[in-house]
Amino acid sequence: MGHWLMDTAGIGSIIVLAVGFSILVAYVYMLRWIQAAPPDPVLVEAEAGDEEAFAAQVGGDKA
């Protein structure tokens, strides 16, 4: 099986494309993760409403 995997034309392309693509996806994910970082909470006491709105906004991340 191993020899066929290495020797057949086409399989090599699949390996290259699959590895390259998955890494690309991982990096895009990292950038999106950084981009989605929450801003600093404003130093003035925050009304309650703000808190929930903030939590909702970030909610997805906590899951």
């Binding site: 995997l5 290495m6 020797d7 057949t8 034309a9 086409g10 399989i11 090599g12 392309s13 699949i14 390996i15 290259v16 494309l17 590895v19 390259g20 890494i23 690309l24 990096y27 990292m30 950038l31 993760w33 950084i34 981009q35 970082a37 929450p38 801003p39 600093d40």
Partner: protein, 444 residues
């Protein structure tokens, strides 16, 4: 914005070149452009007529283009070493020069890939390896590793730029529309919150750790293009590590060259100072010793043994028609660096620049003396072949170097050369550390 933003001295120094372009810049751009066009014209001629315009023949099927390929991929290791290793080891003095090295990495990889395309007999079939790719061939390993490294180094270049891009998005209001739009888009609406900074630092940390093995794999795999064949003096186990050491060695040299040029042209003497040159000079010295060790290991074992085919090749290198190349390489890579960098007085910008220039040339010669001599003495050869590169090959080589510098220059016309936020962070750390020392001193 509340009050007009007062740029710090660092910002002014770094952002100044982005604002106005001096006459000198256009001159350099023009020269590089001309050389690039000459290379491009030669390449088009070669694609139209065929590889016959080069000096290659039978049995010397590979020559300067393969040496260029290995050289450019070699340079790309500059980025890895400086920013990744030094970042992982928290060497503070790396801060002003990380972006330069990461940029070298990115452009060197682009040029490296281009060299393979230049060397192909059927350039229009360049995508065939991605259609009928066959993983048994070391070229496919190259495709994979260089592809991953290209992606990683792009990210590794981009992540530390985000805070600077945000800064420019906010403060460079006088820039032309497209530039502001570019900064806006590329800064991923960075707002510098603690969480975002933490994530960025974490991201850069992961990449720093991740990119070192990738870089090592790239150059090992590049060496295996030669190592996997049975040509005398190619088929040796040392080729992998030897190429990696050679890559880091030439990477540092390239970094020195571009760092010093940028420093000179854009007056960053204050930020890229003696400390950088001192420590990096030492590092270059260490790598020179490393390289010398590997070369000794390679040539001693081959020379000492009596394998007939290998004996022909090593005789050609040490005493034959490649002897001048070989001994020039040894002087450039070993003798000059030690002569200059061993003393503190030598590790000045001009000193290291000269040493680095020698090393860069020496390392190109090293790649050439690995590729060519083995091919001129085939195992079943009854006669030595002569390889005389033609003008086309020289033109395309110089054209590639010009393209590399051109891309480098244009990149730093749009993006800041020094990573401003890292340097500021460094200044804060420095201040705190000095404060702690004073306290310790007072309470001592």
């Amino acid at each position: 914005m509340s009050q007009p933003y007062r740029e710090s001295e660092l910002e002014r120094a770094v952002l100044n070149p982005l604002r106005q372009t001096t006459m000198q810049f256009y001159l350099v751009l023009g020269v590089l452009g001309l050389v690039f066009l000459w290379g491009a014209a030669s390449l088009i001629r070669q694609w139209l007529l065929g590889l016959g315009v080069t000096g290659l023949g039978r049995p010397v099927y590979w020559g300067i283009y393969l040496s260029n390929f290995v050289f450019f991929i070699g340079i790309s290791h500059a980025g890895t070493l400086i920013s990744a290793i030094l970042r992982v080891t928290q060497a503070e003095w790396r801060r002003p020069i990380t972006r330069v090295s990461e940029a070298i990495t990115f452009f060197a990889l682009v040029l490296g890939g281009l060299q393979i395309w230049i060397d192909m007999g059927r350039p229009e079939r360049v995508l065939y390896p991605l259609i009928w790719g066959r993983y048994q061939s070391p070229f496919l390993w190259d495709f994979t590793c260089i592809g991953i490294y290209l992606l990683s180094s792009t990210l590794y270049l981009y992540l530390p730029m985000i805070p600077d891009l945000a800064r420019m998005r906010d403060h460079m209001t006088d820039a032309p529309r497209w530039r502001r739009w570019l900064y806006q888009a590329m800064s991923l609406n960075w707002h510098g919150s603690h969480e975002q900074n933490r994530r960025l630092e974490k991201g850069i940390g992961i990449m720093a750790i991740l990119i070192i093995p990738i870089a090592v794999s790239v150059h090992t795999v590049v060496s295996w293009v030669f190592g996997m064949t049975m040509q005398p003096m190619w088929h040796s186990t040392i080729l992998g590590p030897y190429f990696v050491v050679g890559a880091i060695f030439s990477g540092i040299a390239m970094l020195f060259i571009f760092m010093t040029l940028i420093r000179k042209a854009w007056h960053l003497e204050k930020w890229i100072g003696a400390k950088q040159y001192n420590y990096l000079g030492l590092l270059l010295l260490v790598m020179s010793a490393f390289w010398g060790y590997f070369t000794l290991a390679e040539y001693l074992t081959t020379g000492y043994g009596s394998l007939v085919h290998e004996a022909h090749v090593i005789q050609a290198k040490l005493a034959g028609e490649y002897a001048p190349w070989f001994w020039a390489m040894v002087t450039c890579n070993l003798i000059f660096p030690f002569a200059i960098l061993l003393w503190r007085r030598g590790r000045t910008p001009t000193g290291t620049f000269i040493a680095a220039l020698c090393v860069a040339i020496g390392m190109w010669i090293e790649r050439f003396t690995i590729v060519a001599p083995s091919l001129t003495r085939p195992s079943l050869g009854f006669e030595r072949a002569i390889y005389a590169p033609t003008l086309t090959e020289v033109a395309i080589t110089l054209g590639s170097v010009a393209l590399f510098s051109l891309l480098f220059l244009l990149f730093f016309k749009i993006f800041p050369v020094v990573s401003v936020w890292e340097v500021e962070e460094g200044q804060v750390i420095e201040a705190v550390r000095r404060k702690a020392e004073e306290l310790a001193y007072q309470t001592g």
